[in-house]
Amino acid sequence: MTTSRTRRSSERPPVALVVPAVVAAAVALLPLVYLAVRATEGGLGAALEVLLRERTARLVLRSLGLAAAVTAACLVVGVGLAWLTTRTDLPGRRTFGVLAALPLAMPSYVAAYAWISAVPGIAGFWGTFLVLTACTYPYVYLPVVAALRRADPSLEEVSRSLGRGAGATFRSVTLPQLRPAAAAGALLVSLYVLSDFGAPSLLRYDVLTRVIHASYRSSFDRTPAAVLSIVLVVLTVAITVGESRSRGRASQARIGSGVARRPPTVALGAMAPLAVAACVGVAGVALAFPVATLGYWLARGSSAALDLGRLVEAARSTVGVSLLGALVTTALAVPVGILAARYRGRSTRLLEHATYAGHALPGVVVALSLVFLGVRFARPIYQEVPLLVLGYAVLFLPAAVGAVRASVAQSPRRLEEVSRSLGLGPSAVLRRVTLPLAGPGIATGAALVLLTAMKELPATLLLRPTGMDTLATRLWTETGSGAYAAAAPYAAALVLLAAVPTFLLTRTHRVAAAADAPVLTETTEGAGR
């Protein structure tokens, strides 16, 4: 079944999905309106001049090189850890399974700061590569863990019984089943790397985002920044299209023939110490080191007089706006995700890619575009929470879309077809079959957006209501005045708070995998009669 090609739907997608999906795509494209205005205001000549500079080409190559290197490393680390913690007898694998997801709670600018302050020589490509890999590999790890838990072990057993070795089976049977999950994670990683400003700037590796910021800072001539941002958008679209091609057409759902069982555990044997060392190493670099640095800040300075009320207030605002951001973003993402998984075609692909278009834009560009549009067209919500929440939606929509799409794609389409044949209308099928099946994916998407929004800094600074502080903005204020000891509690609170949705992410995947099987059998049996 896994190898059968998904039929293209001959059905029109229901209007109830198309309209909200179009709205979501329009929201995601808002920054492009602004960029188009700014890039062309100096005349096309000025824009071309920026575009054709030798420096621009060099920066594009650097950004792409960094993104490619980090993505490759994340695939290795993410898939490796996922396999070790789900399929082997790794000692302490439950603990490692959770630890491996936690670096997602670490803002890359905090990790970058920790490294550069302790090891100044790390600046440059390798430092940036290390920090970004450490902070983003969970984007690959989490979906791959979920896919491994859901993958049908019987296929692997067949492969083994037909004489293939463990390695060959992993390559030819397991990996293809992981490919969509890994590719979706890799896409998020590469777009994150393209858009990140904090880490490359602290670690002094000149990439496109650094120059976009410098251009705002130096000349206040906004044409170069806009032109370079458009270059980022073009790169994003190219990468997104590439990813959706690589996803291929293979159906990802298991159905009917059997219940997912616990896959057999691979005995690591003599390799166990090596595997433990690898897990400890990753946790050390990605988690223990930055956390220890926070502790060091706290212990060292005298500026540590903590205003607890302020910390609590900032934490509350952080949770409040991030929750709103997660809710709105997920609501926008669900229709796009379902369309992308169920009604594949040029137009739905267009919609899906549209939601990704702005994802590689640095936060400051998205923020300025909403400043530009907000002050002109949405004055009542300018510098109010709704515009900030909209900013989060523009920035983080793809993370939610990807999660929803993956989980819908993994649930069998046939269930919907059967429900239709039993007389349910399209919207009832959507409500009673598709959405419940997509539940874990929706929850995953929401948790991802929640924790990313918590860490967001540049857009929050410019779009927040006057006087409102989040943990990230307080952290920025404290480090900006050199008060590292005072900054530490905010950083710690941020990491702890962001660890909650991260931890939930490891749970949702487990629950999803466990709940999956009975639902499937039951429904399939029902359908068979």
């Binding site: 137009s347 530009f372 004055r379 204020t477 050199g482």
Partner: protein
């Protein structure tokens, strides 16, 4: 299969509709927001760090006689935000960490001319020639040094002396930092492009070690990884205030006042051209220049006061008048573009 022909226009329509919806919202508020919105609150955009200036701005309400609202972000981002907001901005006053951001707003004709009695409070070197902004405090570029490695520090009077062979590989600097860029701009302005390039090439040949910011440079000097570092004076005073002078090995050295390495840069303030609170905004700047607040900057943030007669009672700061005798026109600091291009050419980024 849903036709692409159908969805693409739908997308465009959706975008147009959402923009239109926003547009109609605005027109309704323009009526409602009118005069009572502005005029009863003084809105300040502060690029200066909240920890440093909140104690000052908290007392502003009393001084200007109306509620004060402060938005904090970095100076450059706030300048960009102000430029995007244009005439629609609600900001009355921009309080900037550096002269460059104020210069950019002045150039875009977004700053009003200040009251003459306000500009008169500040020496000519530290205000805009056309009276659109004034400095509120100053900072000086200095050499941080490790006394164990550079016992002969008193012999060093200018930046050319750190190009001596003994400093190969032992200089720390922060190439991406705004104050380093300001120094290079001053170098260009004072010596001309060719000599500035020559100095930078020689500097680059010294294999200086790059750090993320002034604090990191100072930490490296303190830890002995480098012998000297190019920083602003107050980083050292702050470090000493946080850790105690005994736990800080590094010391700072002032270069001769006519050297570009001794540049005095400033934080400053300007009033937005579209303000409805011109009186209160000017009053606020007057307050920032009052003896009381100047004393605060001198004693709390270790910055140089810009008005005559104020001296720090906490930090050992020379009066500014004795340091910046050969000051460049700070408006020229806005030629940062050329500076960045030059740094890119010589490979110091």
């Amino acid at each position: 299969m849903p036709s692409a022909r159908l969805i693409a226009p739908a997308l465009a329509l959706g975008l147009a509709a959402s923009l239109a919806a926003c547009g109609s919202q605005t027109s309704s508020t323009v009526d409602g927001a009118g005069p009572d919105d502005s005029g009863d609150t003084l809105v300040i955009y502060s690029g200066r760090n909240e920890n440093l200036v909140a104690p000052v701005l908290d007392r502003l309400e009393e001084a200007v006689g109306m509620p004060v609202e402060v938005r904090y972000a970095s100076s450059s981002e706030l300048a960009a935000q102000l430029l995007e907001e244009g005439d629609a901005t609600e900001a009355d006053l921009f309080f900037s960490q550096d002269a460059g951001a104020l210069g950019a707003l002045a150039k875009a004709e977004m700053l009003a001319t200040l009251d003459e009695d306000v500009t008169a409070l500040v020496p000519e070197d530290y205000r805009d020639g056309e009276g659109r902004w004034v400095a509120t405090s100053g900072r000086v570029r200095v050499l941080a040094f490790d006394p164990a490695q550079v016992p002969q520090i008193e012999e060093i009077t200018g930046i050319d002396q750190i190009l001596e062979p003994e400093f190969v590989g032992t200089i720390g600097y922060a190439p991406s930092n705004a104050s380093f860029h300001a120094f290079v701009t001053a170098l260009r302005v004072e010596r001309g492009e060719d000599e500035a390039r020559a100095w930078l090439e020689d500097f680059s040949a010294q294999q200086p070690q790059a750090f993320e910011g002034n604090n990191a440079v100072l930490d490296a000097v303190d830890g002995g990884q480098v012998a000297v570092g190019l920083i602003n004076h107050y980083y050292w005073f702050q470090k000493v205030a946080e850790l105690g002078e005994d736990s800080v090995q590094a010391r700072i050295h002032y270069l001769s006042s006519d050297d570009p390495g001794a540049l005095v840069n400033v934080a400053g303030a300007g009033v937005l051209a579209g303000t409805d609170n011109s009186r209160a905004a000017n009053e606020a700047i007057r307050f920032l220049l009052s003896t009381e607040i100047q004393q605060y900057f001198a004693d709390e943030t270790a910055e140089y006061p810009v008005v005559d007669g104020v001296r720090s009672t906490v930090f050992d700061l020379e009066p500014l008048a004795e340091l910046g005798t050969d000051q460049i026109d700070l408006n020229e600091l806005d030629s940062l573009d050329a500076t960045l291009a030059l740094l890119d050419e010589v490979g110091l980024t």
